[in-house]
């Protein structure tokens, strides 16, 4: 018996309806805030319920082939047949649950966070539209439908980053995100063209079924396809070299950062690689590139995160870094591990961002009450907030321990699995690279623990630095904001328990949580082709890390390492006294390089932006104005010149015209007579 999805279309149409309703409210009655308050989170929560129903029915089903529902024929052009089709399978339902689940919580949080904003209905309209496009992205049954979602979320991201568009800097951040993403989209498009010319289809089912027969292992074509796909992924998922837009994207409202730039949209690249796992498995070079770029990004972004003072910037670089981990996972061939980290990261990073949102909300209100023009996002202006905001403090510590990889929090299981998978895949032609990746991932994990502890200490511990008057106005956020935090905190703890490998379950103490490689088995139907390709070509996987030691040993090592690093960092930082931002001495030396993000923006400006502007100016001044306009105007002048000659014949004198007629008569007579 095949599985029949329940109300699959409604999952998509509900957020779209929300967009329409909220959008109309924004146009017609922007002061009616109760409509978006109900509709905005309501539609997403309803979509979540439907997704949950589908999920449980799928869990119960015996034979679970991907269900493809084709609604209408979208682009029937010759041999190119593209339907507006949705695909419900283990991966897409998982992504749908994350998007609608975490999305609902963030929508609810937004009710409190955006309460005082005049653009309230517009905000929920954009957010609903985003959820719609994100669901199109993950539920699409072929590359073009996925691309529609891919572009749609980019649009919503742009709209929401530039939500406060009256601020020039924020509008520019939106444009930056849009333009940088275009580079990645170019890669995605080229990949689609290549797939179609080589495989004759763009449907996931046909492509992934045909690919292993069409391409030999490591064939240049499939390597090119996957590299272009990965270029698309680096744009959307903020990997080197296209990560620069994500930190700037923090200009948007903080719940937006939580939903789009942490939990869902930026993971689209990981989803895409996981979805195209067959292609990536066939291209070991591309896979290594994916993993290495991921590792490099993880380490690089973590170093920048060490020195940022803006609480959201730290989290932004942390997100970039964690996305790097996911790419390590899908790059080395552990697709389930990458998706697993995607899921847990959605929980704890959304929690971190919402917690930061709560902190900023409180700081903003405090500064606003006393008319102090300090930056409410600068951690140097915070300190000691745990007394005022205990719930936020506790939940954010949960998330911090999760992201740092402390047992039994979610991040421990997912991150450790990725690092371990990098180690065991260190065989075959690219073994040396895999070892390097493993080492970089480990180093980035240590840095993660450092910068997250620094964030917590600076924000919540020590003396309060916001000022005496302001401290009186600091208070915990309302329930509509802290309840989502609490829910996400619970998920950040138990979220990792769905995929506990048996190596850890066998350990003493740490093995308290029983083994449940549920996620691994759940995704198996989608990855088994890729797994078979990898197993068939790489041979036996390693069972020890590059420097020795088994899975269990390294789980303990990484746990202890993270715990020790957190403890050391906390001790060191608690011993220091900080000054508010305006009194702080400017950073010097290496710290300054880190604070300026390795000057990457400046380098890009010099080697990409300026040459492009110079070239454009040259093309404008000389090619366009001189040559093209000259040609066009020249043609007009030529026509006018001929016209002037022709108009000389028109004397306006009747006799002249009569003479012309007579000449004609003479000519005609001449023909008759002569």
């Amino acid at each position: 018996m095949s599985f029949e999805p329940t109300l699959l279309w409604a999952i998509l149409l509900l957020p779209l309806t929300g967009f329409v309703v909220n959008g109309l409210t924004a146009f017609l009655a922007p002061e009616r805030k109760q409509i978006p308050t109900l509709v905005g989170p309501g539609v997403v929560a309803a979509a979540f319920v439907i997704a949950l129903v589908n999920f449980f029915r799928m869990s119960g089903a015996e034979h679970l082939d991907p269900v493809i529902v084709s609604y209408w024929s979208w682009m029937p052009v010759g041999s190119l047949q593209i339907d507006a089709a949705l695909q419900l399978d283990q991966l897409s339902i998982l992504m749908t649950l994350i998007i609608t689940g975490v999305g609902s919580l963030i929508h609810i949080f937004s009710i409190g966070y955006m309460k005082a904003d005049p653009g309230y209905p517009r905000y929920f309209a954009y957010l609903n539209l985003f959820v719609f496009f994100m669901l199109v992205l993950v539920l699409g049954a072929n590359f073009p439908v996925m691309f529609v979602g891919w572009e749609g979320v980019g649009l919503c991201s742009y709209l929401l980053i530039g939500f406060w568009f009256k601020d020039r800097e924020k509008a520019d951040a939106g444009k930056k995100a849009f333009i940088v993403n275009r580079i990645g989209d170019f890669g995605f498009l080229v990949a689609m063209f290549l797939i179609f010319t080589n495989l004759g289809s763009l449907d996931f089912r046909d492509v992934f079924a045909a690919a292993p027969e069409m391409f030999t292992y490591g064939a240049p074509v499939v390597t090119a396809i996957t590299l272009f796909l990965f270029l698309g992924a680096t744009g959307k998922s903020a990997q080197i070299p296209l990560y620069v837009w994500l930190p700037d994207a923090m200009a948007g409202p903080t719940p937006v950062s939580a939903l789009i730039h942490a939990a869902t949209m930026v993971t689209a690249g990981v989803y895409m690689v996981a979805r195209a796992n067959v292609l990536f498995a066939l291209a070991p070079l591309s896979s290594t590139v994916v993993a290495f770029v991921g590792a490099l990004t993880a380490l690089f972004a973590a170093t920048i995160g060490l020195a940022q003072n803006d609480i959201k910037k730290v989290l932004a670089y942390s997100t970039v870094s964690q996305l790097g981990y996911m790419f390590i996972g899908v790059g080395v061939g552990a697709y389930a591990a990458g998706v697993f980290h995607l899921m847990t990261h959605a929980f704890f990073k959304a929690l971190l961002f919402l917690g930061a949102g709560a902190v900023i909300h409180a700081m903003h209100e405090a500064f606003h009450a006393t008319h102090k023009d300090w930056d409410p996002q600068d951690m140097r202006n915070m300190g000691g907030l745990r007394r005022f905001m205990p719930i936020t403090w506790i939940t954010m510590w949960v998330a911090t321990l999760a992201i740092a990889g402390i047992w039994p929090f979610a991040g421990f299981f997912s991150k450790d699995e990725i690092i371990w998978q990098a180690a065991v895949h260190a065989v075959g032609p690219y073994a040396g690279w895999a070892k390097l990746i493993w080492f970089m991932a480990l180093a980035a994990a240590i840095l993660t623990a450092v910068y997250m502890t620094r964030l917590m200490i600076l924000t919540f511990h020590g003396e309060n630095r916001s000022g005496k008057e302001e401290a009186k106005h600091l208070h915990e956020v309302p329930p509509v904001m802290w309840v989502p935090l609490a829910v996400l905190a619970v998920l950040s703890v138990v979220g990792g328990w769905v995929n506990v490998p048996h190596e850890i379950a066998d350990l003493p103490v740490l093995g308290w949580i029983p083994t449940s490689e549920w996620l691994h088995h759940w995704l198996e139907p989608l990855t088994h082709t890729a797994d078979a390709i990898i197993a068939g070509n790489l041979g036996e996987l390693s069972d020890t890390a590059p420097v020795g030691g088994g899975a269990g040993a390294w789980a303990v090592i990484s746990f202890v390492l993270a715990a020790v690093v957190i403890a050391l960092t906390a001790r060191t930082l608690l011993g220091r006294s900080y000054r508010p931002a305006h009194e702080a001495a400017p950073a010097t030396g290496f710290l300054r390089v880190l604070q300026n993000k390795w000057y990457v923006d400046e380098i890009y400006d010099a080697i990409v932006v300026r040459p492009v502007i110079a070239t454009s100016r040259f093309l404008w001044r000389y090619v366009d104005q001189l040559i093209i306009d000259g040609l066009v105007n020249g043609a007009a002048h030529l026509a006018r010149g001929f016209g002037a000659i022709g108009s000389r014949l028109q004397t306006g004198q009747l006799n002249t015209y009569a003479f012309a007629v007579i000449i004609g008569v003479i000519l005609l007579l001449g023909f008759v007579v002569l």
Binding site: G646, S647, R648, L649, Q650, T651, G652, Q653, L654, N655, A658, F659, I662
Partner: protein
């Protein structure tokens, strides 16, 4: 006599042509055209001596057309005269390029 009439028609037609080319008074231009039409009429009548009465029927039609043309043409001249206070075709130069 009919043959000589044809040559008379030719001469009258040539005179009309000269008039159209050298005169500038719009009314006289019209008269010249009438003369050319009459030359044609004469040719028709002369031909009717060899082909039959149809030649004279055509003269009748030509006269009708000439009458219509004269009526409309003179109305136009009056209309132009109101605007330009002149019937000199030298002044009718709106078509000059």
């Amino acid at each position: 006599m009919a043959d000589q009439s044809l040559f008379l028609a030719v001469i009258l037609f040539a005179i009309g042509t000269v008039g159209v080319l050298v005169r500038r008074n719009a009314i006289i231009l019209f008269m010249c055209i009438e003369l050319m039409l009459n030359a044609v009429n004469l040719a028709f009548v002369a031909f009717s001596r060899s082909v039959g009465i149809e030649g004279q029927v055509f003269v009748f039609f030509v006269m009708t057309v000439a009458a219509a043309e004269a009526a409309v043409g003179l109305a136009i001249i009056i209309s132009i005269f109101r605007h330009l206070e002149s019937v000199d075709v030298k002044d009718f130069n709106l078509l000059r390029g």
